[in-house]
Symmetry: C2
Subunit: 283 residues, 2 copies
Amino acid sequence: MTKHPTHPAGWSDRLRVSSPVDLSAIDTSATPGVLDKDAAEEIFDGTSRSLPKLQEKLFADSLFGGEHSVLVVLQGMDTAGKGGTVKRVAGPMDPQGITHHAFKKPTEEELAHPFLWRVEKELPAPGQICFFDRSHYEDVLVPRVHELISSEELTARYAEINEFERRLVEGGTTVLKVMLHLGRDEQKNRLLRRLDRSDKHWKFNPGDVDDRGLWPLFHDAYEVALTQTDTEHAPWHVVPADKKWYSSLAVQQILNEALQGLDLGWPAADYDVDEQRKRLLAT
Amino acid sequence: MTKHPTHPAGWSDRLRVSSPVDLSAIDTSATPGVLDKDAAEEIFDGTSRSLPKLQEKLFADSLFGGEHSVLVVLQGMDTAGKGGTVKRVAGPMDPQGITHHAFKKPTEEELAHPFLWRVEKELPAPGQICFFDRSHYEDVLVPRVHELISSEELTARYAEINEFERRLVEGGTTVLKVMLHLGRDEQKNRLLRRLDRSDKHWKFNPGDVDDRGLWPLFHDAYEVALTQTDTEHAPWHVVPADKKWYSSLAVQQILNEALQGLDLGWPAADYDVDEQRKRLLAT
């Protein structure tokens, strides 16, 4: 049998990377921590019912001066399931407490600013859970693969990211970083399915095929980036992503453990409840 | 029997205000268009399954140059169910295509700007469905009730709002305005429940009791505002809100009809599908 589904720190510990990161040693079709799809869906559905209460506590806490927020950073190759994971994990929660930002190829304006500029603008306010579909990590992955900046500049960016995330954490943001680790064959299947269905054609981009040729270079770039930026304050997790039911579950559980770890209660009334009841009944 | 649930324009027409608006003539506990809770939930669940596809089409369309977006403006007295309605209606849709903004009492910075300044910043981008929990209408309701500005200024604001919304609509935004019309007794019940449960105390504000004393003034302000700003391009709907299952259904159906009205298909591939399949298979 698997561990108790809500075992504190279980999923986060299980999927935490160890340094130096070697992606080839992590099976993209594995399902560590859960037996099969049925078991996964049972845990997923149970947590989908309890997660909104934890989210509501985070939100309520912020109205009474609490500074906690959560940032979930999702990285992965095309079709790794970043958007779908947000949809499944965030679905049951109140949209009022969720923000989501998908980072695209930087615009001219964004390129004219330091690389963290566009990221700063999307950070979660207190009480919010924010999902990044791609992130500031694109700015160390793409430049390395396409040799857009020098290795000194890359090294400086890793350090800048670590410092940036340290400030976030000190300011009350829990930073959860997840790489959805997809197999190359499974990516081909997913891209083929987009070509097979006319209602999915809009999701396909011929550039995705070009990027497949750069697969080994992207993997190298991920390994270096994850190794350089896996910190105690903002650790990296690698989630096998060939099975969507598994990757959604893993991200949900990592988020759930983090929210449980905040150990928030309901804010106490800052007024006299009986007095207010009397006033209200008199109206 | 009720009309076919997806009858085009059925819900929007049924709940559209007629001028001049007389709120006292609209029963807050009525459920026009549906027989009972069971029937309502059946329609609601069915539309919850089909709505995400319409949303996805709106989103996909925007990636290929489409400029459509949707703005749902929710107004209503405290506890009218604005937040809960967003949660239920938006829940099944992809967070990627949803934005939500709850407008609070204006800050010093916001007050130093024209009243539409803070609203402009939260407008939906193409492809997005945006929910406003309160809105620019607070800036004609509160000032009228508390006599903060002259009647000439108020009149100017109604005109400014009409012009503002006309520009939005011309730019591709469908503007859906809904007042959740709550009964005064039902509000008392809802406020009492917040006092009865310690996990709801954070939602209670002693000022809510003070505002109950201003109930008739707020109703007057709503009647004038709705009458002055009910336009062909951005009509007002009044939704009876004593029953949450009804108000959620009504807002969902108004949104659903608007999305169906856009009549969007899936974007056609702007590449040669067979050629891309060959390229992909060769990788």
